[in-house]
Amino acid sequence: MSKDVKAQEAKNPMEDFLRMDRIPHIWCSGCGIGVVVTSFVDALRKSEIDLNKVAIVSGIGCTGRVAGYVKLDSFHSTHGRAIPFATGLKLGNPEMQVVVFSGDGDIAGIGGNHFVHAARRNMDILVICVNNFNYAMTGGQVAATSPINANLSTAPYGNFEYPFSLPYLADACGATYVARWTCLHIRRVTMSIQEAFQKKGFRFIEVIAPCVTLYARRNRLGDGLNLLKYYHDNSEIRHGADTRTLDIGYQGKMIVGKFVDREKPPFLECMNTHMKKALGDKYVPYGE
């Protein structure tokens, strides 16, 4: 084997998209976050998007680390505020494809208010939420997505609070694209991201992912493979399903698929149309 071939082989296939100086990453083996990153990179590649026009914003958490690992303009913001940071970024430079990549605690717990309002005003961003049913980074505490009866470090005898169904929430708030997948559906995740890149407005993709070290261990659910098997046996693809039917019970059935795909002018377009109407020729449209 020539040296060149060897060198080629040694190269990580995602090297061009990763900050290799930050690798190895912190994620546990068997964690689902990396799978979602791979799908994301794959979607970028396949969509042939100009990487100079993609920015990624994360909050804080295990998933939040994504912003630090991908070789794009990236912003590791603060816990819960990824969406408002992304809003600013998008409005500051409307040409950009702005992607929020963060955990369920970040997006639906501490940052829930921002999620609701960005969807309501149809802010033109893509939100990819890795849902591992707990606050992983801080040690597996109960989150807004934890299923009833799941055991968490702040719910040692099981959770009793009703969790959010994220696709239902996104739909109710007006998102233009809503999908849910698991880490098993890697090609579907990739396709979903590609599809979402093509659309405008508030787009939301939830990916159910194993947190082997905390959620799975506390609940004795086995390793990453066991969880993928659970996803395999218990997820059912039902495109267009009524988002009111998407609750996930503890180790229960999961409806996945694309649930919402609607056309609706995003925030900037609404603003420009409205202000043009109000001010006529005096108004200089922004970001068109």
Binding site: I60, H76, T78, H79, G80, G109, I110, G112, Y135, M137, T138, G139, Q141, V142, A144, S153, T154, A155, P156, Y157
Partner: protein, 394 residues
């Protein structure tokens, strides 16, 4: 029964909370204080705590829950760090302004940006004007002792002001020490029953909390709030003494280490004081007459007592684990230098910012400071008033 237990700083706060058994506990997880909340959750699940335990969706909400519960007449606690405390900021002022005796355990941690999870005092120092009382702990035992005393101080009729109990993130929050845990019943007896004066749920005497207060009375109400914290020193002193009589570990406003015949002194709070004491021992062996003063109470600032303790020194170095960008020195330094202003005989005072983002401070760094003080003592000249310790600058 009182027992010796191996506990880390977070566990001591949880243990004290279990003994105090507040009516409501509301907290959101954040490194390095998360384990406080987790231990409390376990206590609650095991029936060792009777109070309510709530996991709200953010620290802002956690403090809001505490405020609601305290307004309803409850005894209330929370715990957080860094960004969590920063997110509580709006609510900290509400708690103090409404005179609600909430107690918060703070595993001190650096503030973003850049993000860092290690220990420094930027978080509580950032909240220094929020009206809360600040107690700082050198080790796990002090964290435990301070936390118990905090309830007595906060709830005292003349004070009714919320209290932070600071313990250095990781260095104390995660280090295990053998801690004297007092008897449950004795602790309960020490803190006594909490009797709120006004409470929202007292239907025989209806009140309103937080109404509009414009140019007519806002100022007077603020003044009366300040009076609460101004009344605190007498209470802190009394509670510290009583704690000593009951449990054998008396507390004052600060601790003096080898200060009797000292001519120079290092002032440093929290865990670094332990390292500082070792350095003082070594410097003493080398013939320097140096001592150390470790503040325990930062708000209300014990300016008179502190000045009395330091006025005879020739030179004093104040070490701050927080910066105050653009100010003339960091928080502790400005207080101390100010406190000494009226004394005709007073030391030269210099300031070092150290340990931001958890940067280590070792005996050798304290010795560097000791040598600088010795030089000032001899020459009477200060070359640089405000500097940094163990920092790469070039």
């Amino acid at each position: 029964m009182k027992t010796l237990k191996p506990l880390n700083g977070n566990q001591t706060i949880a243990e004290a909370t279990r003994q105090v058994d507040p009516d409501v506990i509301a907290a959101y997880p954040i490194t390095p204080s998360t384990a406080i909340v987790e231990s409390i959750a376990q206590f609650k699940a095991d029936g060792l705590i009777t109070g309510e335990f709530v996991c709200p969706e953010s620290e802002h909400s956690a403090m809001s829950v505490c405020i609601g519960a305290a307004s309803a007449g409850g005894r209330v606690m929370t715990a957080t760090s860094s960004q969590g405390l920063a997110l509580m900021w709006e609510m900290l002022y509400i708690a103090a302004g409404l005179r609600l005796p909430i107690v918060a355990g703070i595993a001190n941690r650096a503030l973003s940006a850049p993000i860092n999870i290690h220990g420094d005092h930027s978080d509580t120092m950032g909240a220094r004007d929020s009206g809360w009382i600040h107690l700082y702990s050198e080790n796990c035992q002090e964290a435990y002792d301070n936390f118990i005393q905090a309830f007595r101080i906060a709830e005292h009729m003349d004070v009714r002001t919320p209290v932070f109990v600071g313990l250095d993130g990781f260095i104390i929050s995660h280090s295990v020490e053998v801690v004297q845990v007092e008897d449950d019943a004795e602790v309960k007896k020490f803190i006594g029953e909490y009797k709120p004066v006004y409470s929202l749920l007292d239907m025989s005497r209806k009140i309103t909390v937080g109404p509009l207060d414009f140019t007519d009375y806002y100022f007077e109400h603020k003044r009366s709030q300040i009076e609460g914290i101004e009344n605190a020193p007498a209470v802190i002193e009394q509670v510290g003494k009583e704690f000593g009589l009951t449990f054998g570990r008396p507390y004052g406003f600060f601790e003096e280490y080898r200060m009797e015949d000292a001519e120079t002194a290092i002032v440093v709070m929290s865990s670094a004081a332990g390292t500082g004491k070792d350095a003082v021992d070594e410097l003493r062996q080398e013939g320097l007459k140096i001592g150390l003063l470790k503040p325990r109470v930062f708000r209300p600032f014990p300016y008179q007592k502190m000045a009395e303790a330091l006025k005879k020194m020739k030179a004093v170095a104040v070490l701050d684990r927080a910066s105050s960008p653009g100010a003339f020195g960091a928080p502790l330094f400005t207080e101390i230098r100010n406190a000494l202003y009226d004394y005709a005989e007073r030391p030269k005072v210099i300031n070092y910012v150290y340990g931001l983002g958890g940067r280590d401070i070792k005996v050798e760094h304290f010795k560097e400071v000791g040598a600088k003080l010795e030089k000032i003592r001899k020459t009477g000249k200060v070359e640089e008033m405000c500097g940094y310790l163990n920092l790469r600058e070039s």
